[in-house]
């Protein structure tokens, strides 16, 4: 939040310095368009998402994922899968359709451009340690630090570091039961790995990735 606040303060300073000349130039009392959020591509279309996903996509709650910093490829696949029901979510299915009507490219670009503030929800330390050990197989796709396969366009593995633990665990359980995106070829290996892992251990893995920075 302090970074956001600083941004607002800096922005306020810029606008105020710029204002007098701008008003004089305008004469009739209509100021020129303010720089800032309005001119960020996608801001206006992504605005209503903050009710659940937080300011600039930085969710502060345990069950709702952070959207800030997600790769556009991943974001657009998620929206597509929610809209078609491949990813089952009563909440996201209607909103995914709404986002598609508004323009998914702009919304994806907006969230991709936001800096991720990792979850403030603290993970249990014991769980984090156990999860570190249990997560060795995940690094191939999600990166050694959970940073995802963003450099490699062939990899969809999203950046999961700093996502809230409850969200990660819920997704792992869905993958394990093949309820998330069934039939997706790139996910078969992951689902096979998860089948052998007890649910409690998945909670540990979630805590570990949530704790990464």
């Amino acid at each position: 939040m302090s970074r956001l606040l600083l941004g607002v303060v800096l922005l306020a300073g810029v606008v105020m310095l710029g204002a007098p000349a701008a008003f004089l130039a305008c004469g009739a009392g209509v100021a020129p368009a303010a720089a800032g959020p309005l001119d960020q591509p996608g801001y206006v279309k992504a605005m209503t998402c903050s009710a659940c996903h937080g300011a600039a996509g930085n969710s502060r709650s345990d069950a709702v994922p952070i959207l800030a910093g997600l790769s556009p490829v991943y974001f657009k696949k998620a929206i597509e899968d929610y809209a078609t029901g491949k990813r089952v979510s009563a909440e996201m299915e209607p909103f995914a359709k709404q986002v598609k009507l508004l323009g998914v490219d702009e919304v994806a670009a907006y969230f991709a451009a936001q800096r991720r503030d990792v979850t403030p929800v603290k993970a249990d330390r014991g769980a984090v340690e156990r999860g570190r050990v249990a997560s060795a197989q995940c690094a191939a796709c999600h990166g050694a630090e959970g940073q995802g396969g963003q450099g490699d366009p062939s990899k969809l593995g999203p950046a999961i570091a700093g996502q809230p633990a409850a969200y990660i665990k819920n997704q792992l359980l869905l993958f394990k039961a093949d309820k998330r995106s069934p039939g997706d070829e790139p996910l078969t290996k992951m689902k096979a790995i998860l089948k052998a892992i007890p649910d409690e251990t998945l909670g540990d893995v979630a805590a570990y990735y949530s704790s990464l920075r």
Binding site: V44, M47, T48, S61
Partner: protein
């Protein structure tokens, strides 16, 4: 080109200084004449609930060169969503009570005073003898109760509680419920549509029934619903009520009279029903100031607005958001008020900057708690077509579960921060 007035000159030459100089004004009452002459473009927001607080915050964060004054008599924000959990004792009211510091942090000027009138033609808001001048006003007064539609209600407000605006009445009704004898009858009445929070009465029924089942197993909950059926999530609520045989639900039973001394209500059929504790949720309309300001439509109850800008169809310089609006296919919910606050703020900033307002549809999510640990939801997605909000889809959760309760907690935490900024939601 145009004659420059003294105010325009001041605005042009000293906006930065002006904004600094007036930062310490909040809270001075009973001024006569113009209060705090504006030095820049100003938006006045009337009402600091879900819609108004959101709008005030988003005007500031979207264009910090615009001055925002928020008029809200209450010093604390108390969340109506989740307040049914106070009745069952699952939550305390303190966990739903937040300050307005998050709004102050982004430069919103809080005045804990009530607007006494809005004069759209003069573009000013009256506060007692004084007035504030505005460029745009955002009116978010929530609902008021039509007490005169229930005989005996106006004179019995200390005994016959609504608890439909979270606050002291919520705590008091919880106390009455706890003090009720086992074997007693709790009567809950549902008003005719439209009213704030369509699923709210039915969630409350679950919470009261859960409390009684857990603590007073011989007591009964009798529901008198003015509507022909459960207004929202009907099938889901009926399924949830399977767990509560202590509920007796009577549809099409509109309460027209209450006798607090005899502890008795009368329905429009003339049926008399005795109670030990009553929760009478009265019929509603837009907050009184919207009526005073001539913003309500022909029905004299709710305000019609432009679906893109939220400008009143009666006075274009006044925007109306939240529960007091009508004509959009949306429920009177916290999520909708929050969405309208953001969209309206964005429209106001565009309009004040000489830009056309973008057409952004709202979103809706309403979670309802059916017990101490399980919830369910209804979700509505929208689009804008030919300048009107149109529903794309409504979806219900397949049932109630602890997972949706977890989602509900996540929603609440996020949206409280979205409404109030980080200094509000702790």
């Amino acid at each position: 080109m145009t004659r420059m007035t003294r105010r325009q000159f001041l605005r042009a030459s000293g906006s930065g200084v002006g904004a600094l100089a007036v930062s310490g004004l909040a809270g001075c009452a009973s001024t006569s004449g113009e209060i705090d002459p504006k030095s820049n473009r100003r938006v006045v927001v009337v009402g600091g609930g879900w819609g108004g607080a959101t709008a005030a915050k988003y005007v500031r964060t979207t264009d910090p060169s615009i001055e925002v004054v928020l008029l809200e008599p209450n010093r604390k924000f108390v969340s109506c969503p989740f307040s049914n959990l106070v009745l069952s004792g699952v939550r305390g009211l303190g966990s739903l009570t937040f300050g307005y510091n998050g709004l102050r942090e982004v430069g919103v000027k809080l005045r804990h005073e009530a607007a006494t009138a809005i004069e759209p033609d003069a573009k000013r808001v009256r506060i007692g003898d004084g007035y504030l001048v505005y460029d745009r006003v955002i009116v978010a007064p929530g609902v008021d109760f039509l007490l005169d539609q229930v005989e005996g209600l106006a004179g019995a407000q200390d005994k016959v509680l609504h608890a439909w605006k979270a606050g002291p009445q919520t705590t008091e009704l919880a106390k009455q419920l706890r003090a009720m004898p086992d074997g007693g009858v709790f009567v809950l009445t549902v008003p005719p549509v439209a009213y704030r929070c369509p699923p709210g009465p039915y969630e409350r029924i679950c919470q009261v029934a859960w409390y009684l089942k857990t603590n007073k197993p011989k007591a009964k909950l009798l529901v008198l619903d003015a509507n022909q059926n459960i207004v929202s999530k009907a099938a889901l609520f009926r399924a949830a009520w399977q767990a509560y045989p202590n509920i007796e639900y009577r549809a099409s039973n509109k309460v027209v009279k209450v006798d607090a001394a005899a502890r008795e209500v009368t329905t429009d059929f003339g049926d008399k029903v005795k109670y030990d504790v009553i929760n009478l949720i009265p019929p509603q309309r837009a907050g009184a100031i919207a009526v005073q300001a001539d913003l309500v439509a022909a029905d004299k109850r709710w305000c019609e607005v432009d679906h893109v800008t939220y400008e009143s169809l009666k006075h274009r310089s006044a925007h109306v958001i939240g529960d007091s609006t009508t004509g959009l296919p949306v429920p009177k919910s916290g999520t909708i008020a929050n969405a309208m606050g953001k969209i309206c703020a964005t429209s106001v900033v565009h309009l004040l900057n000489g830009r056309p307002a973008p057409a952004i549809p709202p979103v809706n999510t309403c979670y309802s708690w059916v017990s101490d640990r399980e919830a369910m939801a209804v979700i509505n997605a929208y689009k804008i077509e030919n300048g009107k909000v149109v529903q794309v889809e409504q979806k219900l959760t397949p049932g109630h579960s602890a997972l949706y309760a977890q989602h509900a907690e996540g929603w609440a935490k996020s949206i409280w921060a979205d409404v109030l900024g980080s200094g509000g939601a702790a």
